[in-house]
Amino acid sequence: MKKCFINIPVVILIFGLVVFSGSNSFGPQECVAGDPGPIISIGTPLVKMSKKSEVVIMGTGFKPGQEISVLFVGPDGLQSDIGYALKPAPKADKTGSWITTWSAGRYVDRKLIDPKGGAYKIVVTDDEYNPIAHSAVLFQPEKKKKKKK
């Protein structure tokens, strides 16, 4: 039998090295043990839906002075920067903490939040929209008042 000159493993090795060299597909993942990193929490985890709905969002463990963007992930997955409706503008203080209130009434009123309510994701990012932390808020429709007979 004629000896085949093709060394299959070598071919695969060359192919793999050339194709994947320099690719960041398998880049290192940063992970610091014991460091909880920045975390956010929602001060009003259950929000009654009305034109005056407000969501309190707060964070700790951020870099002092860090400017923060807050994104709302809508029912269709589309992300909105809700900065215009946040008071005060979120910025970490000396201790890396911040708190802000989102006037979400317009999102409720204009049905950008499902009128049936539901859980929605709030994502906190840096000013270049790199995600830092996320949490969830539950919107609940207001109960209709029963008409007196």
């Binding site: 000159f5 093709i6 070598v10 071919v11 060359i14 192919f15 050339v18 194709v19 994947f20 060299s21 320099g22 690719s23 994104l71 809508g74 269709d76 589309l78 992300q79 909105s80 920067d81 809700i82 900065g83 215009y84 409706a85 317009r106 999102y107 009123d109 204009r110 049905k111 950008l112 270049e128 929209y129």
Partner: protein
């Protein structure tokens, strides 16, 4: 044998290299975040289109994420400034009222953009604007123009409901009209129904219900085409046909033609701008997007970036007499 072996491995090397090139030539927008600035609060027409287009542009820019950022205030000027002054890396685009370009022409304070230099993407739709009157008082435009005085309801200085009638009557050299301001879109319609006003100007789509119910009659159209329902109603260029009035007709028609324009800052690299324009056009013509627009009673008749660019550049080259008229419309001295 050794020679054949070397030749073979060399071949494998080059094939792999070409594969690598294909793999690494990832589209620019892969993994990128695009900021879509909307110069209004959420939930209105501009926001509706921006959210729809963001969703479908993501489809045509695989791996990208589009974040809608509302920047309301200043009559669209604040947000437009932000778009204009953004880093021209193809990662910031936005939409604003089509009349915002006029604020530059008339020299309003706070304008920090050069409308003619924006990197235009196009518009998902054109608009049809109408002159609406009390049907009990007027049958057609001739009746309206011959009347002693017509009372019009408008939003405010600089709003299209104010600028359009003022420019129209100025062009015709008529003074048989008065404009009351301070109405919202829906209030203008109510003013007409209640008899507070005899006429108003507004977009066809938002006034269709009043027209269908017989509370308002269309006597003039400004837009790309004449809807079948109004085949007897003249288009503005059919009325302002004198050579001296043609620029006014062109300006007002252009304002409707560009509908809801989208642009990025000047200086976006040509290859990225091309990608953005293609994705924008595909999103504006996506069958699912068109179906959603139909369901939401929204127009979707894509306007190419070239048309918008041409209009925007033309806006910056208006004659001094038209600029003077516009300044009057905006209350600028």
């Amino acid at each position: 044998m050794i020679k054949r072996k070397s030749l073979f491995f060399l071949m494998v090397f080059f094939i792999a290299l070409s594969f690598a090139t294909v793999i690494r030539a990832e589209p620019f927008y892969q993994g990128k975040v695009i900021k879509m600035i909307v110069t209004t609060k959420p939930g209105g027409g501009y926001d509706w289109y921006a959210r729809l287009l963001s969703k479908y542009m993501q489809k045509y820019l695989p791996g990208s994420t589009i974040i809608v950022k509302n920047v309301p205030g200043g009559g669209h000027i604040i947000g437009t400034n932000l778009i204009y002054r953004a880093k021209p890396d193809g990662l910031t685009i936005g939409t604003f009222n089509r009349a915002v370009g006029i604020t530059q022409v008339v020299g309003l304070k706070g304008v920090k953009f050069d409308f003619g230099k924006l990197s235009w993407l196009g518009s998902p739709c054109s608009e049809i604007y109408t002159y609406l009157v009390n049907p009990k008082m007027f049958k057609n435009l001739d009746d309206v123009l011959k009347t002693d005085k017509i009372r019009l309801a408008a939003e405010g200085l600089g709003a299209l409901s104010y600028v359009c009638p003022l420019m129209f009557y100025q062009a015709l050299g008529l003074e048989n009209f008065s404009i009351s301001t301070g109405y919202s879109g829906a209030e203008m319609e109510m003013a007409l129904i209640r008899g507070e006003a005899d006429g108003t100007w507004g977009s066809l789509i938002s006034r269709q219900a009043a027209i269908d119910s017989g509370d308002a009659r269309v006597v003039l159209l400004i837009g790309r085409e004449k809807p079948a329902q109004f085949k007897d109603v003249p288009l503005i260029e059919e009325v302002l046909k004198d050579p001296e009035n043609k620029p006014v007709a062109k300006l007002l028609r252009g304002l409707q033609l560009v509908g809801r324009p989208y642009a990025g800052p000047p200086g976006i690299p040509a290859d990225r701008l091309k990608i953005l324009r293609e994705a924008f056009e595909k999103a504006s013509k996506d069958p699912e997007a068109l179906a959603l627009a139909k369901k939401g009673n929204r127009r979707m008749d894509f306007v190419a970036w070239e048309e918008v660019d041409d209009w925007a550049k033309g806006l910056m080259e208006l004659s001094p007499s038209i600029v003077a008229k516009l300044k009057e419309s905006y209350g600028v001295k």
